[in-house]
Amino acid sequence: MLNQFLADAVEFLPTLLSGLGLTVGITITALLVSVILGLTWALMGMSKFAVVRGISRTVINVVRGIPIIVQLFYIYFVLPELGIRLDAFLAGALGLGIAYSVYQAENFRAGFASVDPSLLEAAQSLGMSEHTILRRVIFPLAIRVSLPPFGNTAIMLLKDSSIASTITVAELTRAGQLLAASTFKNMSIYTLIALLYLLMSLPLTFMVSGLERRFKRK
């Protein structure tokens, strides 16, 4: 049985690896989008203007309340009717990025909230501008709190990138599905897929806990 599995692995891996490439691409792009948007929502949430805070809260509640798969369908199938046409990869990465930005916003918000306001006063009394305070005091302290949940979010995003298969992106899960449908080697193929996802998520886990340890020392 093991021999059979190894033989299948040799046969199917090249196809699966090309899917894996797309999975990595979608995950990294979506992660980037989610960080930029998440940071935007979190900063807007701290604004002194009630309207800005309201917009941030509304976006977060709306996006969080709609299933990711529906958001992807919306971007891929509905937007073209409005004249906005994105290819499947871009639609998937953008959709996942938007969907995940609200979780990132929560991670960042918790980080910002953890910064002792008395440190902001110390920074102000030194004459620091708001921008310098963000860069020198708030970000470096907030990241210590935001990083562990950020790691979890990144791993969840990696796994949820498989949802992009529903809008025809031939990423790892989709590539495997197609193979399985034509060869009926379900056990070998889905085992390989599971192993490949693990292979990607475990290093991510180790990286995050390594960074955490580095920050904690200080």
Binding site: S118, E121, S125, L126, G127, S129
Partner: protein, 241 residues
């Protein structure tokens, strides 16, 4: 160098500063005393704009304190906090050079050299690379004073600098503060340390319910107070049991 004229401050429906008027000359050491809630800290925080005063005028070297002038005002006036407020992610030396490098734009190497000699001066020459969490309260407060001095201020505001310290750590901080006073830096000190006020202050102000009710030499205010409330306060502070 600092003048306050009819300054008032209101929090919600509570008036914490009423009609505060006084002047501080360059190099003067002023101790601000009074029970908690009398408005001492708020007064201090209005001078460098951490709180915005609601009425009257505050000027620092002729510049009126307002949101537009804060940067300039804060570059002249440093502050030392009750709970130190050191940046926990930076070493003692990094805390000290943070302002010079990132506000005044000094070259890091020069700032470091100056920072080391400041830490030397407050008796922490060997703790430059320690993080705040590795320092005692007294040591942290001395770093706080070095951080204030690093900005080369004309005045330093001290907000109860020894109130959060273990009693045996108070002396080391007061000693450093005496040194600062001897260097001719203008100081406004909110404090409960009456012996420090008596020995170092050029003038003592007693605050009660948002008013300045005494304003005179340490000798006058502490031994011959004009009003009953000051006598009661001093009696409570000097003879707690």
């Amino acid at each position: 160098m600092i003048t306050l004229k009819n300054v008032s401050k209101i929090f919600g429906d509570r008036t914490v500063l009423r009609d505060i008027t006084f002047e501080i000359a360059k190099g003067e050491v002023i101790c601000l005393i009074g029970s908690s809630g009398s408005g001492k800290s708020t007064l201090l925080r209005c001078i460098n704009g951490l709180e915005r005063h609601d009425g009257g005028d505050i000027t620092v070297e002729g510049i009126p304190v307002s949101p537009q002038t804060l940067k300039g005002v804060r570059s002249k006036i440093a502050m030392v906090f009750q709970r130190f407020n050191l940046f926990p992610h930076r070493t003692a030396l990094q805390n000290v050079i943070e302002g010079p490098v990132h506000v005044l734009g000094r070259a890091p190497r020069d700032a470091e050299k100056a920072g080391r000699s400041l830490l030397e001066r407050v008796g922490l020459g060997d703790r430059c690379d320690a993080y705040p969490s590795e320092l005692s309260g007294g040591e942290q407060q001395r770093v706080g004073i070095a951080r204030a001095l690093a900005m080369n201020p004309t005045a330093i505001l001290f907000d109860e600098p020894t109130s959060a310290l273990d009693p045996e750590r108070v002396g080391e901080v007061l000693k450093v503060m005496r040194g600062v006073a001897a260097d001719g830096i203008t100081m406004i000190v909110v404090t409960h340390e009456m012996s420090f006020a008596r020995q170092v202050a050029d003038r003592v102000l007693f605050m009660d319910d948002g008013y300045i009710v005494e304003n005179g030499s340490a000798e006058e205010v502490l031994t011959r107070p004009r009003v009953a409330r000051t006598r009661e306060f001093l009696d409570r502070v000097l003879n707690p049991v």
